[in-house]
């Protein structure tokens, strides 16, 4: 076994919090990784493509002046290898205090189109990958009686709308899964945060068929808000905050009306 420990040691005077970011090269993921790097975290950045991960790690490490970010190329749909990857990452980081799942994909079907292949992909990445990772992370945090979990879901999970049934379903299920985890783990000292972004200016919004951007925030603003939620150990956070009120109204639109509206 070669010594895998490239992260500098954690000492009482130079303590390091340790985090894993799944989906680290996406818009919000990368912004959040940079933010956490600036806050002194050591981190494992996980995504599909090694090359873009390395670019991001190099940038964060250069900024920090030492190795704080390590790249791990892994697809969230490789469910079987997650257990091994997790224990390897925790050993290399020397611990784990914060787990972040921000991996997500979106496809925009036409208003009358049904595409099961795309729906399957969205459910696999947005929901099943998160469940697979969290099934490994949750028991560790529960046993350690500490830790924080951040799941990035979406306002799209709050109601099923006409535009994108598959995406709505994947996010609704992930929101619900996170809520269950919160109810299971809070009593064990673990904080579970559900982030519900509205519209964030990332590549998602430039895809063909994407809706007209309204009330958008930048990925950096979203990362700042998520960091605040982590610091304050919040529970459910809309990004931007205005979406809390919008979704409050939308959640209460009765079905006989909701069936008739065009959004």
């Amino acid at each position: 076994m070669t010594d895998p420990y490239k992260i500098p040691p954690s000492t009482p005077l130079k303590p390091r919090k340790r985090t894993i970011v799944i989906g680290a090269t996406g818009g919000i993921g990368a912004a959040l990784a940079r933010k956490l790097g600036a806050q002194g975290f050591s981190m494992a950045l996980v995504d599909r493509e090694l090359k873009s991960l390395q670019v991001l790690c190099d940038e964060i490490n250069k900024q920090a002046g030492e190795t704080v970010a390590l790249p791990y190329a892994q697809d969230v749909t490789e469910y079987k290898s997650i257990s091994h990857s997790l224990s390897k990452i925790i050993a290399e980081l020397g611990g784990l205090e914060l787990f972040i799942y921000v991996a997500g994909v979106i496809y925009f079907p036409g208003p009358e189109e049904y595409n099961f292949q795309q729906d399957l992909k969205m459910v696999e990445v947005n929901l099943l990958g998160g469940m697979a990772w969290l099934s490994e992370v949750a028991p560790l945090f529960q046993a350690a009686k500490s830790g924080q979990i951040v799941g990035v879901s979406s306002v799209a999970g709050d109601r099923g709308r006409i535009g994108n049934p598959g995406y709505n379903a994947s996010k609704a299920a992930f929101t619900s899964y996170l809520e269950s985890l919160r109810n299971r783990l809070t009593r064990h000292g673990v904080n579970v945060i559900t982030i519900k972004p509205g519209m964030v200016r990332t590549s998602m919004l430039t895809l063909p068929g994407a809706p007209r951007p309204v009330l958008t925030v930048s990925a950096e603003q979203a990362a700042d808000r998520i960091w605040k939620a982590i610091r304050k150990r919040q529970q459910v956070v809309y990004v931007a905050g205005i979406w809390h009120w919008i979704m409050l109204v939308i959640r209460h639109i009765p079905s006989f009306l909701f069936r008739r509206v065009s959004f």
Binding site: M1, S10, P12, L13, A91, G94, K145
Partner: protein, 461 residues
């Protein structure tokens, strides 16, 4: 085998490190843990009482072998004073077993909650290091398991290289399975203690040096807030005839530390009342009061347990340092350079507004163990409170301390210092010693299964 992912801490509560904790009951369990670790690609470290101030018994993200269930005293020969113990036996278990028969462990730490496995791994010293050396000099033999599962029997004459490197080797070469120790014969359960004040650091070091030949134990308390005020406690064993009732004073009921203050107040709650005083001003007040009270030189008789286990006098005292905990910085300096170096260090700490809240001095002599921390001179242990706002300033201060100590030919002790870097360790151990240790590591543990946070901070290549 079941393991629990547990957030472990150092004794000072200033470091957190989660690990998969396994409690072996037998040597076979330890072997199985090694096999499991190899299969899972994980590392293994041993942990005893968890009394180290640093990361010696932590292994973040790896396996921790918690020795607390392997705590049987296997054999006790009260004629020869020889005891065979499993590694999880604590000093408390040991002295309580041997004292009623008229014996006492020749070397003990300031707390009785350390385990023998941990004591050997750190090669602990007591307030009699200048006379009795470290605990390793009283080990007749031990058996240890290497990560391959092989067992080795070591004594000063058999596998002598492993004997002198596993003791003081911080669990990085093998795991102790059983330890045979020689106890020291006692004629009384009491010590005759002499206490006197010292006005300056120079005074204190002179007292230690001149007092050592006359006493069995000697230790100094140093007020590092005012710099120099202090008190010496020196003690001698009682010889036969000096104690009219040795049978009575060696009974456990005579030795046990009272659990209540003035007979009423539970001492386990005392640390809550200490917390508000753990500030620069609070400690100044306490130290000044303590010094004034110590101005009267006096002599008294005290049970062994009360004299030795000062750290256990107030249970949970380390929690009074608050949320971010404490660290201890202990340096060992040759007797020629100690005064100048510590004077410079303490002045620096005072100038930076970072006084140590407790200072303890001792007298030492060299020993033959490979990773020894002792030398012909003195040690000064300083306790610092850690807060979120003083971390970087304290870190800068300790880096300067390291420089001063290295220049003065000093050494460090890895049951204590938490910030020492690989480069510093290389300097004071010397390249030759360190490469000798790493060669033994390669021989005993070629796959580097035995690792701790300390190993990765200081020893790993």
């Amino acid at each position: 085998m079941t393991s629990d992912f547990t957030q472990l801490e150092n004794f000072g509560h200033s470091l957190k490190s989660p690990s998969y904790v396994i409690q072996p009951h037998t040597a076979e369990d330890i072997h199985q843990a090694f096999r499991y670790a190899r299969k899972a690609g994980l590392t293994v470290a041993a942990r005893g009482g968890g009394r180290s101030y640093n990361d010696a018994a932590l292994n973040g993200g790896g396996i921790i072998l918690d020795s607390s269930v392997m705590n049987r005293i296997l054999k006790w020969d009260k004629v020869k004073g020889r005891v065979v113990c499993e590694p999880g036996v604590t000093l408390q278990q040991l002295w309580q077993r041997v004292l009623p028969d008229g014996w006492w462990p020749p070397v003990v730490s300031g707390t009785m909650f350390t385990t023998l496995g941990g004591c050997l791994a750190a090669n602990i010293h007591g307030k009699n290091n200048f006379r009795m050396g470290p605990i390793g000099e009283h080990v007749l033999e031990f058996t240890a398991m290497l990560p391959s599962g092989a067992r080795v029997l070591c004594s000063p004459s058999r596998n002598a290289d492993l004997f002198h490197s596993m003791i003081g080797g911080f669990g990085l070469l093998g795991i102790f399975l059983s330890i045979t120790l020689q106890m020291k014969k006692m004629q009384s359960g009491l010590l005759e203690v002499h206490a006197w004040p010292t006005r300056t650091l120079k005074d204190q070091l002179t007292s230690l040096e001149q007092g050592a030949p006359r006493f069995d134990y000697i230790v100094g308390w140093l007020d590092t807030v005012t710099i120099g005020h202090g008190q010496i406690h020196a003690a001698n064993y009682l010889h036969s005839g000096q104690d009219p009732e040795p049978q009575k004073t060696m009974q456990l009921s005579y030795q046990n530390l009272p659990s209540r203050l003035f007979g009423v107040f539970p001492k386990s709650l005392l640390h809550y009342f200490m917390t508000p005083f753990m500030t620069n001003i609070g400690v100044w007040g306490i130290n000044t009061a303590k010094y004034v009270a110590s101005l009267r030189s006096h002599t008294f008789r005290q049970p062994h347990a009360a004299f030795h286990f000062l750290l256990d006098y107030v249970p949970f005292w380390e929690q009074s340092y608050g949320r971010a905990g404490l660290i201890q910085y202990q340096s060992f300096l040759p007797k020629e350079t100690a005064l100048a170096a510590w004077t410079e260090m303490l002045a620096l700490a005072k100038a930076r507004g970072l006084p140590a809240y407790l200072g303890v001095t001792k007298r030492h002599r060299p020993d033959k163990f490979l990773l020894t921390h002792a030398l012909d001179g003195f040690s000064l242990a300083l306790d610092f409170k850690v807060t979120d706002s003083n971390r970087s300033r304290l870190s800068a201060l300790l880096q300067e301390f390291d420089r001063i100590v290295l220049n003065a030919g000093g050494r460090f002790y890895f049951a204590k210092n938490s910030e020492t870097t690989k480069a510093t360790a290389q300097k004071f151990y010397g390249k030759q010693t360190l490469s000798k240790f790493l060669k033994l590591k390669k021989r005993c543990d070629p796959q580097r299964i035995l690792q701790s946070d300390l190993y990765r901070r200081v020893f790993a290549e």
